[in-house]
Symmetry: C2
Subunit: 140 residues, 2 copies
Amino acid sequence: MKKPKRGWYAMPGGKMERGESIKESVIREVKEETGLQIKEPKLQGAFTILVKNKEEIIQEWMMFTFFCSQFDGKLFKKSDEGELEWVPVSEVLNKPMAEGDRSIYKHILENDQMIYGTFTYTEDYHLLNVRLDPPSDSKP
Amino acid sequence: MKKPKRGWYAMPGGKMERGESIKESVIREVKEETGLQIKEPKLQGAFTILVKNKEEIIQEWMMFTFFCSQFDGKLFKKSDEGELEWVPVSEVLNKPMAEGDRSIYKHILENDQMIYGTFTYTEDYHLLNVRLDPPSDSKP
């Protein structure tokens, strides 16, 4: 897979529906939230997310990040998730996002191999801890 | 990644522990169940598994399949999971395994790209339905 040096990015996300594969989920979610029909998204990240209240883990889920450079359709101006925009590659890392996501996007924009990891958040999504493999050098 | 044309395979599996990434889980599980310290396992399959009682879905989980050709250590003769053996590549698909696993192993032994899918089983693990992407031509 070749990563474009220039280009624009949309960053939708969502929840799997019953019986979907993760690839089916990402195709459906992107279609619902952006209007774009993506083609052959490639899995690039697999993460375990923990939410802690003091020492107790109160939630745990998995998150998958896909890369895709081909699609049909035109980006919605708005969806239920908010306003949508294409962002030049050089601007992606300056956009507001969950603290832990920045190191994921940095890896995926610069690498072709998978990244794995675990993020631990407080209940109000303050990032407590990150373990990434390969390790990230991205500091917000 | 180059797939060896000849070689031997072990096929352990297991359950993620709290806060592990899927890569950490596979490394730990293989170590516990085989004695082998695997190096840089590569994710090759991501699956959604449904268990149905008549029309009702009573369980749902995810399963990840990794490929790895480098390791340190020596295979246990036995573990809590049963007897262990190295199996020539040409024999892997003839071994007893869950019905759905055969098409996964066939894909992974012959391809470098990811495979995604959903398997639906009855409560006694009779395979009701399979959707694979790319589709599998493996019929047990």
